[in-house]
């Protein structure tokens, strides 16, 4: 859990390391304190023991003298006590001796108490330490810690004494040391350790802060820079550093250069693609418009659908007129004709006659539509287009078309779709007239002296019978079983609409030929000989 808290930021992790170091340092300090304390205590205790042993040796020496009879026992005791009193070092290390009767024998700091009962002595914790000392002595000797009056500071102090029995005289001898010294020493030690810890903490904190600043700040800057790499105005940080962060920054910079270049290329590619798509769409729309018009005019020219519908439209009112007249005539023959009724019928007949003339007016406006699609067109290209679509048309696939239109032929002025329809219709006529299974159509063109372009479509069929020639261009006259007889008529209308003419020729080499003229692009009406 702590890991997850500190994992967020590198500086936090560094701080964590510093913190752990500090903890370890503190633990080491505490341990050192303990070790030092134990060492000091052991030293003191060993010292006490040595001193105590020396005291016992003094006592033993004088007791031996007494035992050998070289000294009286009292003298020996007195000399021993005197010697031990002298062996005092300052107010601290002095020997004290009590007897098992709990009377003080030697107490250098309070000689006045010597010879008195000291069994009632006790310290602030309620310990009767003299009695305790006697118990320790009787059990063979040992250490005892208690509070005792200190002469030098005139106050109670912690004291550790080593007690040894001296059985021959019924005494026990002790020597003590004041632990206040030890505590003072240890306090000093603690202060030093604390100062060290603080110094280390401060130094490591400072270095952590510096390192973090050096690492995390540029890292954070880099991190913020990454999402904005496409922003050309952005300046990357840390590029001049020669450590790993510098490497990262430089790699990022080179990656960014690639990225920007890639973006630029993609944008260029995209705009080129869009341009291409737009061009294709336009081309498609143009083709679609042309196809639509082709379809419309194809119906107009080849199937004669419009002509059929016009014929029906005209026949209906004219029939009605006829019926009204017949009915009226029939009634007028009677002796007493119902004149008002006949008058009504005649009025209705008149209405129908008007309907017929309106149909004709509509037809005229349809045929006189403006030549909005006129443009400069290449006849050779149109013929190539027609040959292509003929190849895709059922029944015309086996057709062989010889196109001998010279490439040098100037462009004509007209509606390519309509002229295409004329060509298609003439070719179809030629094919339908043919007797061979693989009909051949020859298409040629030339520029005439009068400036008109003349195109000639010739088939290798039986030709048009002489008796049919005069009626070739009359509407609704046909020699074909499936036709309406409007094709050639409408072809001629289209050509005349273009200021040209369409006629039939019987070539010497057989078959039938249909020729039409078109105006050159840029030629004026007068130039092309159009007088209308």
């Amino acid at each position: 859990m702590i890991g997850s808290i500190f994992a967020r930021r590198i500086s936090s992790r560094l701080l964590l390391i510093g913190f752990v170091n500090l903890l370890v340092l503190a633990a080491v300090s505490v341990l050192g304190y303990r070790l030092t304390f134990d060492y000091v205590m052991n030293e003191r205790m060993a010292n006490l023991r040595t001193l105590s042993d020396r005291g016992v040796q003094v006592l033993t020496h004088f007791q031996a003298l007494a035992a050998a009879g070289r000294l009286a026992e009292d003298r020996a005791k007195a000399q021993a006590v005197a010697l031990l009193r002298e062996m005092r070092k300052g107010d601290e290390n002095y020997y004290f001796i009590d007897d098992y009767g709990l009377k003080s024998v030697l107490l250098p700091i309070r000689p006045d108490l010597e010879g008195t009962d000291v069994s009632h002595f006790r310290d602030s914790t309620g310990l009767y330490y003299v009695r305790k000392q006697k118990e320790i002595a009787q059990s063979g000797g040992g250490f005892i810690a208690y509070e005792f009056y200190r002469a030098d500071v005139e106050a109670a102090g912690q004291k550790l004494s080593y007690i040894q029995p001296f059985e021959p005289w019924g005494w026990f001898i002790g020597i003590g040391v004041y632990l206040d010294d030890v505590h003072r020493q240890m306090a000093l030690y603690i202060w030093r350790a604390l100062a060290l810890v603080i110094a280390v903490a401060a130094m490591s904190g400072l270095s952590i802060w510096l390192v973090a600043r050096q690492i995390t700040r540029p890292l954070a800057q880099l991190r913020l820079a990454i999402p904005q790499l496409r922003n050309a105005a952005l300046t990357l940080p840390a590029l001049r550093r020669n450590d790993e962060i510098g490497d990262i920054a430089r790699s990022l910079a080179s990656y960014r250069a690639t990225l920007l270049e890639n973006d630029r290329l993609q944008a260029a590619l995209l705009s080129r693609e869009q341009e291409e798509r737009r061009r294709r769409e336009e081309e498609k729309a143009r083709r679609y418009r042309n196809a639509l018009r082709l379809e419309q005019t194809a119906r107009l020219v080849t199937s004669g659908e419009v002509a059929l519908s016009i014929a029906h439209e005209l026949n209906q009112p004219l029939s009605a007129v006829h019926h009204y007249c017949e009915g009226a005539l029939s009634r007028l023959e009677k002796d007493t004709p119902d004149l008002p009724a006949i008058r009504g019928a005649m009025e209705r007949a008149s209405t129908q006659a008007r309907r017929a003339s309106q149909t004709i007016a509509r037809l005229r406006s349809f045929l006189d539509r403006p030549s909005e699609h006129f443009a400069a067109c290449s006849l050779a290209e149109l013929v190539a287009d027609v040959m292509r679509s003929a190849g895709e048309t059922e029944g015309l696939a086996d057709l062989r078309i010889e196109n001998t239109i010279p490439a040098s032929l100037p462009a004509f002025h007209g509606d390519p779709i309509l002229i295409q329809q004329v060509l298609f219709n003439l070719i179809r006529n030629g094919v339908e007239a043919a007797t061979r299974p693989d009909p051949r159509i020859r298409i040629s063109a030339r520029l005439r002296d009068d400036g008109l372009i003349e195109c000639r479509v010739r088939d290798d069929g039986p030709g048009v019978p002489a008796e049919h020639v005069p009626r070739l261009f009359v509407a609704f006259v046909t020699t074909k079983s499936g036709g309406m007889g409007v094709g050639l008529n409408i072809c001629r209308s289209i050509i005349e609409h273009h200021g040209g003419s369409l006629w039939h020729e019987t070539p010497d080499e057989g078959g039938a030929a249909f020729c039409f003229t078109l105006r050159r692009e840029g030629a004026s009406d007068a130039e092309s000989g159009l007088s209308d």
Binding site: L308, A311, H312, N315, Q316, P317, L318, S319, A320, V321, H322, H323, Y324, E326, G327, A328, S330, R331, A345, R348, A349, T351, Q352, R355
Partner: protein, 203 residues
């Protein structure tokens, strides 16, 4: 209604002018604006001459003629066309058209053809009436008399009929006399003719 003409044309002007012209020829004309409207009104016992335009929205004149035949309405149908096409004309006549005229209509010729068609209709009407009467009379027979009637029409003898029906020859005799009386027939030949008329109607 001996002079009834049913005229079907979806062009109002043509329809109205033809009504005018045919009425001028003394015919009774019922105009309809579509084949569907006429088919809804027509029944088996409708008699008259149908004059219909060929080129109409939805049902054409040829379709109308075919539907009438399917319904068993055997009226003569004269078709009118805007532009004479031999192919269509032959097809229509093959389908059973009475005649085929071109627009604008020669009214005199059309009237004459209508009259011819109507005289054919008279025969159909007479036959229809006869059948209707026969059916009416046969309906008045009792079940047993009807059995005897069918058996006699099939040429069975009295004795055979008695055997077939499990009755006595004498009883057959009595039934037979009752049948002849109820059907107003005097001979077995007449009885058979009536039976045939009834059968054909029941088709």
């Amino acid at each position: 209604m001996p002079n009834q003409v049913y005229l079907i044309d979806d062009d109002e002007a043509v329809r109205d002018s033809l009504v005018w012209a045919l009425e001028g020829e003394g015919l009774k004309v019922a105009p309809y604006s579509s084949a569907g409207a006429f088919l809804e009104a027509a029944k088996r016992e409708t008699f008259g001459c149908v004059v219909s335009d060929i080129r109409m929205e939805r049902l054409s004149g040829v379709d109308l003629q075919r539907r009438l035949r399917e319904l068993g309405i055997d009226m003569p149908v004269i078709l009118i066309t805007g532009h004479a096409s031999l192919v269509v004309a032959i097809a229509a006549l093959r389908e059973g058209a009475f005649d085929f005229v071109e627009k604008p209509v020669d009214v005199k010729y059309l009237a004459q053809r209508i009259h011819e068609g109507l005289s054919r209709e008279d025969l159909r009407r007479t036959a229809w009436q006869r059948r209707a009467e026969a059916a009416e009379r046969i309906a008045s027979l009792s079940p047993r008399e009807r059995d005897v009637f069918h058996a006699v029409a099939k040429g069975r003898l009295n004795k055979q009929i008695a055997g077939d029906l499990g009755i006595s020859a004498k009883t057959v005799e009595i039934h037979r006399a009752r049948v002849m009386e109820k059907l107003y027939v005097r001979s077995v030949a007449e009885l058979i003719r009536l039976h045939l008329a009834h059968e054909s109607r029941a088709e």
